[in-house]
Every structure is written in structure tokens, then in C-alpha cells.
């Protein structure tokens, strides 16, 4: 799921803190915005916009934190509207629905744990690349030098 690798340069204390905050941002938003999945994305997006002119290390981790929210947004939104349709329309609770909720929970939990781990590691200045999102971020986020 996650892979520790060496970054192109050693980030400074201030950079490490900012990069770590980008993950914490999504964690706090996850707690606050549980019923509305879009909140996580908005929170990381705001943080990303605020730091897009930051150093490479900060930008890189803000981008990874933002991208990781996208897939969760799809999974959670689908579950959210499915639940709404069960409450307000004639949809009923099926095994498929419960299975979806469990799957969404497993994926959310995995992402949650990975986020905490990455927040801790980046705070120490250690570069952590996520499976898939890491490669995607490498593709999007380039060093200005």
C-alpha cells in the first residue's frame, strides 16, 4: 500500500510539517464530514491551493493527499446516495447494499490508516509514496528545477 523512498532532496523541518499537515487535513475533514463525502475533498483541495506555490516536497504531498481523496469520494458518494435512496424512496436494504457498505468501510479504514502512517512519516521528513497515487503524483507534480 505504501512505500518509503528517498526524495530528490532532504526536506527541511518546516516543509515536513506542512507536508504532514496536508494528510492531517484530510483526517480532520474525514471526521467532520463523514456524512458528506465531498467535504474531505474540499478540505484537501483548499489546502492544496494554499500550498501549490510551496516547496516541491510540500506540493508533492499535498497532491498525493488530494488525489487519494478522489477515489474515496466516488466510493463514499455512491454509498451515501444509495443510503439516501433507501431512506427516502422505495429501495430496500439488500445483501448487495450491506456488502457495499462493508467494502467501503474496509477501503476507508485502509486509507485512514495509510493517512495516519504517512502523516507521521512525512512529519519526520521521510518520503512516502502510496501505491497508485504515488505514481500518479510523480506524473503530475514535477520539480521546478
Amino acid at each position: 500500500m505504501t512505500q518509503t523512498s528517498t526524495f530528490s532532496y532532504t526536506p527541511g523541518e518546516h516543509e515536513a510539517e506542512k507536508a504532514s499537515n496536508s494528510y492531517l487535513m484530510s483526517l480532520i475533514a474525514l471526521i467532520a464530514g463523514l456524512p458528506l463525502p465531498i467535504i474531505n475533498l474540499i478540505a484537501t483541495l483548499i489546502f492544496y491551493i494554499g500550498n501549490r506555490k510551496g516547496t516541491y516536497f510540500v506540493r508533492w504531498h499535498c497532491t498525493q493527499a488530494l488525489l487519494s481523496q478522489f477515489s474515496m469520494l466516488f466510493i463514499n458518494s455512491f454509498g451515501f446516495w444509495w443510503t439516501i435512496s433507501i431512506i427516502f424512496t422505495d429501495e430496500t436494504i439488500t445483501s448487495k447494499y450491506i456488502a457495499y457498505l462493508i467494502t467501503a468501510f474496509i477501503f476507508n479504514l485502509t486509507e485512514f490508516i495509510a493517512t495516519i502512517y504517512t502523516a507521521i512519516q512525512t512529519r519526520k521528513g521521510i518520503h512516502v509514496e502510496w501505491w497508485f497515487y504515488g505514481s500518479l503524483t510523480n506524473l503530475i507534480c514535477k520539480s521546478k528545477q
Binding site: D90, T94, I98, A99, Y100, T103, L139
Partner: protein, 269 residues
């Protein structure tokens, strides 16, 4: 880039595989969601019926109950519906109305019986209401109108009389969604065809009542709450054309006439 595509594909696949694997488990029976719904429905049905029983007069004339029972029995047998699950009640009232309550209670007003020209017309309306019961429309409508939390609290002892009265009013005098009504109409035609009753009588009944709709709207609850009666009768006729069956008389004329006479006497009293 290739690595990225493989990784994204694997991620999506992993998600759907987990979902698919988990969906193989019968969670509904594990969490007993069906049982809980059934119990709530049972309690609500009894609750609503008790209120009607207390406030309205039930018609227990043998010719009336026997006629309706014969029709319901034949429909149930022909369509493999558990007869015990349908509890028919005839209420003495000058409103043309019939409605389904939770847990298979089917309430028919005597004016509906009196205004049906033949048993086939009546069978159409009964089939339509049975379709609502069998397709679980009643509970779906309740959930939509009052919400699951109110339903559960009502069924578990929180007897808010106002809420119960309002809910009952909703069930007896408002229609289902357009889609659900059509679904019930089409199912009703299937039931009628399986029972060898000509569904055209049902379409005629709708057409006939919609014509006199304006004159006596007050007493035509069943029609006024079921919008676009003419349109409904049209798609019923269209659907009937696809069905080829040999239709039979469901009741003999003598029994039907006897019921009509008894109904007149009951109204006069």
C-alpha cells in the same frame, strides 16, 4: 505510465472483487432486516385495522362476504398467492373506495361493490389492491410518507393518535406513485388473465367511473385518488391485447344479484 494503468485497474478490480465476494453472504438474513420489517408491518396492519373496526361499520352479510371471498379465493388459487395472507374486510360506506393496509389487510367499501356492474369489474379492483399488497407497495408508501423511524416507533408502542390517524388517511385516500400504480395495474391484469377473468371489464370500470367523476367526485375516492383513469384504462386495454386466453365467468349471476339486493337493503337500513 503502464505501471499506473495496471495499478489503477488492479485497484478497481480489487474493490469490485471485495464487493462481489461480500455480496455472496446473505447479510439480510444475518442482520434480520426482513424479520424486523415483517414484524413492524404486522403490528401496523393490526393497529390500523383496529381503528377502522372501531370507527366504521363492518358489513357481515353472508351473501356479500361469500361473494367477495369466492372472488378473492379464485384469484389467490390461480396466482399461487397464500389466501391466508389476504385479510378482506367489507365496510358499510357510500364512498367508492378500496385500499390495502400493511400486512395484507384489504378494505373494500360497500359502495364499490354496489357500483360494480358485474363480478369481473370488482375482480379488477380487488386484483389491483392485491397487486399493491404482493408488490409490497403499502409499506414502501408508508416509509415514503411518514418515514421508517415513525413507523417503528408507532409499532413499538409509541401510539401518537394524530400520527396514526393521518397515516391511515394517507393509506385510504391517496394514491401511490404513478409508477407503482401502473405496476399494480399491469400485475392486476396478469392476475385476472391467470384467473381467466376478462381484464377488459377492469378497464371499462375505470373508464365508466372516470366519466362520472365530475358529477359525484365526493363519493368516487378510488377514482379521484387514482389519477388519469382514462389513460390507465387505455394501457390496460393495450396490455390485454397481448394476452390470449379463454375467459370464463367468475360467479353465477344469481349470487351476484343476491349480493346487490342485500347491499341495497343494508344501505336502506
Amino acid at each position: 505510465m503502464k505501471k499506473l494503468i495496471i495499478q489503477s485497474f488492479t485497484g478497481v478490480l480489487l474493490f469490485f472483487l471485495t464487493w462481489f465476494a461480500l455480496a455472496q453472504i446473505n447479510w439480510v438474513s444475518i442482520f434480520n432486516t426482513d424479520k424486523a420489517t415483517d414484524k413492524t408491518e404486522e403490528k401496523l396492519g393490526t393497529l390500523f385495522w383496529d381503528i377502522i373496526k372501531k370507527t366504521e361499520k363492518e358489513n357481515k352479510t353472508s351473501s356479500v362476504t361469500a361473494t367477495v371471498d369466492t372472488i378473492v379465493n379464485k384469484i389467490c388459487v390461480a396466482n399461487a398467492i397464500d389466501r391466508k395472507s389476504i385479510k378482506v374486510h367489507i365496510i358499510e360506506k357510500n364512498e367508492i373506495n378500496a385500499f390495502a393496509l400493511p400486512n395484507g389487510h384489504l378494505v373494500i367499501y360497500s359502495a364499490l361493490l354496489a357500483n360494480s356492474d358485474n363480478p369481473e369489474e370488482l375482480s379488477g379492483v380487488i386484483c389491483h389492491e392485491i397487486a399493491h399488497i404482493e408488490l409490497n407497495h403499502v409499506f414502501k408508501k408508508l416509509i415514503k410518507e411518514v418515514g421508517i423511524s415513525v413507523l417503528i416507533s408507532t409499532s413499538t408502542g409509541n401510539r401518537n393518535t394524530e400520527v396514526i390517524q393521518e397515516t391511515l388517511k394517507t393509506l385510504s385516500s391517496t394514491a401511490f406513485d404513478r409508477g407503482l400504480e401502473k405496476e399494480a395495474d399491469i400485475k392486476a391484469v396478469d392476475y385476472l388473465v391467470n384467473t381467466k377473468i376478462n381484464p377488459e371489464a377492469f378497464a371499462n370500470f375505470l373508464y365508466k367511473l372516470s366519466d362520472s367523476e365530475k358529477k359525484t367526485a365526493k363519493y368516487l375516492t378510488w377514482i379521484s385518488t387514482h389519477p388519469e383513469s382514462k389513460e390507465r384504462s387505455k394501457y390496460i386495454v393495450e396490455y390485454c391485447k397481448k394476452k390470449n386466453a379463454n375467459y370464463k365467468k367468475i360467479l353465477n349471476t344469481k349470487n351476484w344479484n343476491k349480493m346487490q339486493e342485500d347491499l341495497k337493503i343494508a344501505t336502506q337500513n
